[in-house]
């Protein structure tokens, strides 16, 4: 695949807007980039179950409890679906999971922040899922077919989660003083990490160039971040919540909400493993994996025994 003629042919297919399917020839680097992106995305879904799962047993009403369980369950489903999409590129799920448990694979840093009050559950749906949707709406047009189709399906559910989240936040923002305080506090804590979800500035993003060229991405990190801010600021205002950024200012000319500089030191520290919950998150995944080993062994042994029996018969 790597010779120039083939590379050119591949690029022509991309430029013509064709989808690349699992059995098509593709540059090794394209395959590797996609495995990296899709598996990071899958890991993010799985690790993302933890901060929200943290409030399932404390949900304040039975309907809220149902919605939250269903949401976290959806995330498990997304993880499963994305691992399958990654498997179409010739790597298996066990290997990917092992990379996560060994600390070799990345996942979205946002999930290394703690959920401190019930308002966090609302704000995660609103801001974190909201940011994910902006990113995934773009990825739904990605050149790799299985990833693109996974994103279309996942986006539909994420939109539902976002609405649920906004509803929780709006209810609390209009509630008793203690609820208002929790809602504002959650916005204050989650706002900047949500902006960080889009990754470094375009100038500092090592993978952006090639991903754009291959139409895995069709918009840059900064473009997507701006889009998210523009969508979200009016929502916050409508709910009577303030955004913790003194530099936030509407520019009537560009119709953008200009915003202050992200604390990139914090961003890189959390990626390096120094966020508030990095260790807890990975340890929770390792514990589930460790505690479940005997169950997986038993299922495999049972399947093998019964396969033998049916062979004999």
């Amino acid at each position: 695949m790597e010779d120039n003629a083939k590379m050119e042919q591949f690029q022509q297919r991309i430029d013509a807007g064709e989808k690349i399917e699992p059995k098509d020839s593709m540059p090794e680097k394209y395959r590797k980039q996609l495995i990296r992106m899709i598996s990071q995305h899958a890991h993010s879904e799985i690790v993302g179950m933890l901060p929200e799962g943290n409030w399932i047993t404390r949900a304040p009403s039975l309907q809220r409890k149902l919605s939250l369980i269903a949401k976290v369950q959806d995330e498990a489903g997304h993880g499963l679906y994305l691992y399958c999409a990654a498997e179409t590129l010739g790597i298996d799920r066990d290997e990917l999971v092992q990379q996560l448990l060994d600390g070799k694979a990345k996942y979205s840093s946002i999930f290394n922040y703690p959920t401190l009050t019930w308002a966090d559950i609302g704000v995660i749906g609103w801001l974190v899922d909201g940011a994910a949707i902006v990113n995934q709406t773009m990825l739904a047009k990605a050149s790799y077919g299985p990833y693109s189709r996974a994103m279309i399906r996942i986006c539909k559910e994420e939109n539902f989660h976002k609405r649920q989240g906004m509803e929780i936040v709006a209810t609390m923002a209009a509630g008793v003083p203690a609820q208002k305080k929790m809602a504002q506090d959650a916005v204050n804590r989650w706002w900047w990490p949500s902006l960080m979800m889009f990754g470094p500035h375009d100038s500092d993003s090592p993978n952006s160039g090639v991903l754009l060229k291959w139409k895995v991405k069709t918009k840059t990190n900064d473009e997507l971040r701006q889009r998210f801010v523009n969508l979200t600021v009016p929502q916050a205002r409508a709910m009577g919540l303030s955004i913790p950024d003194p530099n936030l200012k509407y520019d009537p000319e560009t119709k953008n909400w200009n915003f202050g500089e992200i604390d990139w030191d914090e961003f890189y520290q959390v990626i390096k493993g120094n966020g508030p919950c990095n260790e807890e998150r990975i340890e929770a995944r390792r514990k589930a994996h460790r505690d479940g080993a005997w169950v997986r062994d038993a299922a495999a042994a049972y399947a093998a025994k019964h396969a033998d029996k049916s062979n004999v018969a």
């Binding site: 809220r64 019930w118 008793v176 038993a298």
Partner: protein, 259 residues
């Protein structure tokens, strides 16, 4: 609705609906603790599903209980503003999850019971309850398939899994008798064909449980062990208090708030 029953029947029916609702609320709550921590992703999804069904059934049953009581209490009021002594669930269901084998065995023993109970309740003369039973039976059929398949896999899997699931069964056997014990409340409701006669289900329950347990190469524990009693009258283990304090913390802290 409360108009059509005399005072005694209404009080009995209220208590009976709490028994049905609390069983599913407490079990659903325990199952939801697994979400994100299961032995494989597929089981995170399956246990969450079963948890959702249980809590969904609990909502219907507690809502109905509130309507029968006629004092304006909603399903949330009943779930979040009662003390442990007012809960009517089986002691088995409030026990901590333990390992996956413990959770599966608890689920299996309850699913068989719930299956036959709902089957009988479809014939209840109290129409709203019969309707809940019809709908719930479909869900429980799936739960039972899930739990019994896992009992088979774990029983007939590895030596370790066989020991663990046998241990769970041995440990839980003392809790099952309570499923079938009738008190005055249930006896009065059985006479009116409102409640199902749980004592009449024991034989069928035992038959199905034995069949699966033996197929899983496990042993039914001896019956000469102490059997728990009284949870239908609010005599629980200490575990329920902690479960409730976690579940009820927000509602209790801000009783005037809407969420």
């Amino acid at each position: 609705m409360s108009e059509t029953f005399d005072k005694q029947t209404r009080a009995d029916l209220f208590d009976y609906l709490l028994r049905l609702g609390d069983d599913r609320l407490i079990l659903g709550h325990r199952l939801s603790e697994w979400c994100g921590h299961g032995p494989m992703l597929e089981e995170d999804i399956a246990l969450s599903n079963i948890s959702l069904d249980c809590i969904g059934q609990a909502i219907s049953l507690l809502k109905l209980a509130g309507e029968v009581e006629g004092e304006g209490r909603s399903e949330d009021d009943l779930a979040y503003f009662r003390e442990a002594i007012d809960f009517r669930n089986l002691m088995l269901l409030e026990q901590p999850n333990g390992d996956f084998g413990y959770t599966i065995m608890r689920q299996f023993l309850f699913d068989v019971y719930s299956f036959y109970l709902y089957e009988a309740l479809q014939e209840s003369t109290f129409q709203p309850l019969a309707e809940i039973a019809v709908k719930s039976l479909k869900e429980v059929r799936y739960h039972l398939r899930h739990s019994s398949q896992w009992v088979l896999r774990l029983g007939d899997g590895t030596e370790e899994s066989r020991q663990r699931i046998q241990q769970a069964l041995d440990n839980q056997w003392r809790y099952v008798e309570e499923m079938f014990v009738l008190d005055d409340i249930e006896e009065r409701l059985i006479v009116e064909n409102i409640a199902a006669d749980a004592s009449a289900l024991q034989e069928k329950w035992r038959e199905m449980v034995e069949k699966i347990i033996h197929q899983a190469t496990l042993q039914i524990p001896g019956d000469n062990i102490y059997k728990t009693q009284g949870s239908r009258q609010g005599k629980h283990s200490e575990h329920l208090g902690y479960l409730l304090s976690e579940m009820q913390i927000l509602s209790r802290s801000y009783p005037d708030a809407q969420w």
